[in-house]
């Protein structure tokens, strides 16, 4: 197998707070191949956004800090950089050019005082020695590629003059303007209407093929994950609780948490008389008050005093490409979630 585009090994991110230091991400590992989409799924507070910011080198420090692990990125020039330790210059060089990011809220993620064109041009000219004119043409091409109608006119529009869908397209155009090899999308469709959401997802999937980018897509919505994922990583309380190729996750989920998430997705044609949509009771534990044993046990219908409350389970292989963090995954296989 060729060298992966991105390999994260045992990444730990700590935040110093009033209640002492907490680990927002405690030992997460994954790889992203060229042209592959990894979807990281989790609730708010699971550490998925912190993971993506760590890869970008954008963890606000203080209070945050990459406390351990490696983020190995295989750059175009053939070198492998450890982004966990890279200096500011290296990161500036890679960010925007080889690793790009799309954020959740396209209204606030774009600067309101510059036109979207100016903001795209800015990215291009940071990384490539293009004239203003050439950069402008490239930006208009990007807008057109993303299906922005009248790209020449929209180039001079300010963010507040565009709809949410167009703003997000502009944001994506900005991210892709330098043809990055890795794209990180942090809930890019959450703030959008469902129809626009579907268009944007299609767009990202199409551009990924054209540019053969690796994509890390972050979402709390397994329905979105099902549409685009090659592989899925489910995060809970700063850890991987299950990771597998998309087909395995959706057809053969092992971790009770994953099963709960899947059951709580509404589907067309569901039997309405079967009662309300199932939910997972409770919330993600506060990072400062992690339960003993398995972090998920207070919310788990399968939890037993031993082993679930006694020991923190390890990540165990189910198959060669499917791992799960559950002490009872063998016992509960085949049982309803």
């Amino acid at each position: 197998m060729t060298q992966p585009l991105l390999e994260v090994r045992d990444l730990r991110v700590d935040f110093r707070g009033e209640m002492g230091t907490v680990s927002a991400v405690s030992g997460i590992s994954f790889t992203v191949q060229k042209g592959e989409t990894l979807v990281i799924v989790g609730e708010s507070g699971s550490g998925k956004s912190v993971t993506s910011l760590a890869v970008m080198g954008l963890i606000p420090q203080p209070p945050g800090r990459i406390a351990g692990g490696e983020i190995l990125f295989h750059a175009r020039d053939g070198q492998t950089h450890d982004l966990a330790k890279a200096d500011a210059r290296t990161m500036q060089h890679l960010r925007g050019a080889e690793i790009a990011m799309i954020f959740q809220e396209p209204m606030t993620a774009l600067n309101p005082v510059y036109t979207i064109g100016a903001q795209i041009v800015e990215t291009i000219r940071l990384h490539e020695p293009l004239s203003r004119r050439a950069a402008r043409l490239r930006a208009i091409d990007m807008l057109a590629l993303l299906g922005v109608p009248e790209p020449q006119r929209r180039f001079d529009a300010y963010p507040h003059e565009l709809s949410g869908g167009l703003r997000q397209r502009a944001m994506i155009a900005m991210a892709l303007a330098c043809s990055p090899s890795l794209l990180i999308a942090d809930e890019p469709t959450t703030a959008l209407d469902v129809t626009v959401q579907a268009q944007i997802l299609d767009m990202i999937a199409r551009l990924q093929k054209e540019l053969s980018m690796g994509v890390i897509f972050i979402t709390h919505n397994l329905g979105v994950a099902a549409e685009i994922a090659d592989r899925v990583l489910v995060m809970y309380a700063g850890q991987t609780v299950e990771a597998a190729p998309a087909a395995d996750i959706f057809q053969d989920p092992r971790m009770p948490y994953t099963r709960g998430l899947l059951k709580s997705i509404p589907r067309l044609g569901m039997d309405r008389d079967a009662g309300p949509l199932p939910t997972i009771p409770g919330t993600v534990p506060n990072l400062g008050e992690m339960p003993r044993g398995c972090a998920f046990h207070p919310r788990c219908t399968h939890a037993l005093p031993d082993p679930c409350m006694a020991r923190r389970p390890d990540l165990e292989p189910v198959t060669e490409r499917h791992v799960v963090r559950c002490a009872r995954w063998r016992d509960i296989a085949g049982q309803p979630a």
């Binding site: 500011a88 990011m101 954020f103 600067n111 309101p112 800015e122």
Partner: protein
């Protein structure tokens, strides 16, 4: 845009009418009689009555106001009771002195205040932040007359580096073009004059700059802090932009709107409120003229001065409002 401008000019006119009413009536409600003041204690009743009639002071107040207003519309503010010049002429002679002082003070305040705000705002909680913010707290709370006198004592007397007051050294005259000594000196092209005018401007400008400088520094800092945590700043970093450019282009640029507001307000205040500084440094500016005229009940000059200051104040505000549109496209009107 045209409609917006027209409505703003309409506002300006309304404000001026309001100010004229207030100024006119307050001056007349104040105790003290102009005729007695002009003719002295020993004037006879007949002389006083005659003068009051000449000045129109025996008419009812509304009639006097209507007359005043009609004259003002024709640009006639009356004649100064002290100098016998046209009242407006006295105001226009004094104004450049104040304008030069205010602009110099404001330029200094911006040139020093904004960088202080940036340094403090990008390092919140650091030693620099604490040091600079304590210093600006001193700046806003120091009484201006005390600071002026201390600077005068130190640089004018003890060190003897700078002149202690006035506009230009005696014997050195600048050909008057704008009335602003520095600019007139530059126009004259004589380095000696330029140097002298700058030396005479230095202490008053520093004195007058302290409060706006401190306020600009504090507002810049707090706006920088507020902007720095916004999402678009993270986007700028995600583009691979060097930190310095992120701060200038995506933090400072967005923080400028409130800073400009403060700058505009300060300019308005400086233009109308340089009284103390002008007094300490014996500058024949608008503030001094107004105080002297009020004390000697020189109604025409007070009225002309107050209307003029109101006019300048509203004009500065209009310019500031128009600047918002340039700085923030969300406010721009089509």
């Amino acid at each position: 845009m045209t409609r917006y401008l027209a409505s703003r000019v309409g506002q300006l006119v309304l404000v001026l009418i309001g100010v004229s009413v207030i100024v006119f009536f307050t001056m007349h409600v104040l105790p003290g009689d102009v005729a007695t003041l002009l003719l002295g204690e020993r004037a006879t009743a007949a002389q006083l009555t005659q003068l009051r009639h000449q000045l129109g002071l025996d008419q009812s107040l509304p009639v006097q106001y209507a007359d005043f207003f009609w004259q003002v519309l024709q640009g006639n503010f009356g004649t100064s009771l002290r100098s016998n010049h046209a009242a407006l002429a006295d105001v226009l002679t004094a104004f450049p002195v104040t304008l030069q002082l205010a602009l110099a003070a404001l330029a200094l305040a911006i040139a020093v205040g904004v960088p202080i705000g940036i340094v403090a705002g990008t390092r919140p909680g650091s030693v620099w932040d604490n040091l600079l913010m304590t210093a600006t707290l001193f700046g806003v709370s120091m009484p201006i007359f005390w600071l002026g006198l201390m600077l005068l004592l130190l640089f004018g007397d003890l060190l003897d580096w700078l002149p202690i007051g006035g506009l230009m050294p005696t014997g050195l005259d600048v050909p008057r073009v704008t009335g602003m000594t520095v600019i007139d000196s530059i126009i004259s092209g004589r380095p000696l004059l330029i140097w002298a005018s700058l030396r005479y401007l230095a202490l008053p400008a520093v004195t007058l700059a302290t409060i706006p400088l401190a306020m600009i520094a504090r507002i810049t800092r707090s706006e920088m802090l507020a902007m720095a945590s916004l999402d678009h700043v993270r986007t700028a970093r995600a583009k691979g932009m060097p930190e310095g450019r992120v701060i200038i282009r995506h933090v400072l640029r967005n923080a400028m709107t409130p800073v400009i507001t403060v700058i505009g307000l300060q300019l308005g205040l400086l233009l109308s409120g340089a009284v103390l500084t002008e007094t300490i440094f014996s500058l024949p500016g608008l503030g001094r003229l107004m105080v002297d005229s009020i004390l000697s009940r020189d109604y025409p000059v007070v009225q002309a001065g107050a209307l003029f200051i109101a006019f300048v104040f509203v004009l500065v505000n209009l310019i500031v409002d128009l600047t918002y549109g340039l700085l923030d496209p969300r406010i721009r009107r089509s």
